[in-house]
Amino acid sequence: MTSPSELRKDAVSGRWVIIASDRSKRPDDFRPAKTAERPRVSSAFCPFCAGNEAKTPPQIFALAGPDDGSGRAPWRVRVVPNKFPAVSRGDAPARTKSGLFESMPGIGVHEVVIESPDHDREMADLPTDHIRDILTTYQARLQSLETEPQYAYVQLFKNKGMDAGASLSHPHTQIVALPIIPKRVKEEIYNSDRFFRKTGECLFCRALAEELGAGERIVLKNEHFAAFEPFASRFPFETRIFPLRHAPHFSGARPEELAALAETLSAVLSKLKALLGDPSYNLVLHQSPHPARARRHWPEIERIAHWYLEIIPVLTHVAGFEWGTGFYINPVVPESAAKFLRE
């Protein structure tokens, strides 16, 4: 009897996944039922909209847009610190330990990238030069935070839609700098380090080469990037965007790479929006920890870490089995998802 499912291992995370295709469903059956966004009240106040700059903390970075003659907003992308942050700036914190109970002061940085003065224009709706400006802004902030070695890891992420955890529908990205290297980041680096010591190759470069060789999970490829549905995708339409050039940090991306990434993101996000009914999604940057901190554990960190973006549409729910085992059940075969997005 043929098994209705297949277990697959993701080489990068070391995580196993159950690919359990529900044959009665097609990929586009995963269009989510829309969850209502929080309605904009009365005169539609939003702290991120143009005109409400006084309600945010003073901006720490901004890019001006082309002058459209409206004089409406003197900025196209702006960055502000979180007004009510859960962590605050400071020196490298000392850990305190009492038996197994380990803790440290809540040192860190939390910034918000407001992607556009327009409340209703999602990244998928923006022209590629605007997306490139957002990426340039990410890069500038990451470069700045990387000068502060007390922050071992800088996490950049975007929650789009309430189901993805966004509290506000105005398009924004968050950047959080942490004094420790998170466990999931360590897992990827450990796997890559083990692979490097065995083969002398970067695990991410090899994974990319094998995906490009197989071809069936590739969504698109240009001169600098490839977007694909990973072999062991945890979620339907989970998409990774890998730079073709090995580089440990997003901050080191070249101008032509940022332009190509803007085109790649625009294409992938537009496809997800059009084909899956504008789902909520999380966009997450994976990259190297701060080299000064990482070299203590991994002397070859620049050779084994490789930045990439991950987009996870929220189409299914994580439940008890996933929490208990760390296994995920994906009801859409990644090859079918890639074919659907390609066509």
Partner: protein, 117 residues
Amino acid sequence: MKRILIVEDEEALCLLYEEELSGEGYDVTTARDAEQALEILKGERFDLIVTDIRMPGRDGVELITQIMGLRKEIPIVINTAYQSYRDDFMTWAADAYVIKSSSLDELKARIRELLAR
């Protein structure tokens, strides 16, 4: 005398804030929910608003976004028992976020700062 509107659903806390802030020399009015607060705001002007978040009916976050539609310049202090609303960017409509405690020192300090601006 500076006028403060307190929005708080717990009667005992309402009385405590009214007494303590009146003792600081403010003219204090209280509302027990967002609807009552909006009704009061239709006819009266205040220099500052202090609001709880978890309340029956409309919550404090909805209330402050409504207030922004009426008077964007009025300073607002969120006074809540919960840290978790820090994740909600709609709270940025407020000017300060205070965690409720048995001491009112921080609440009073934030009020003083905002009224001195």
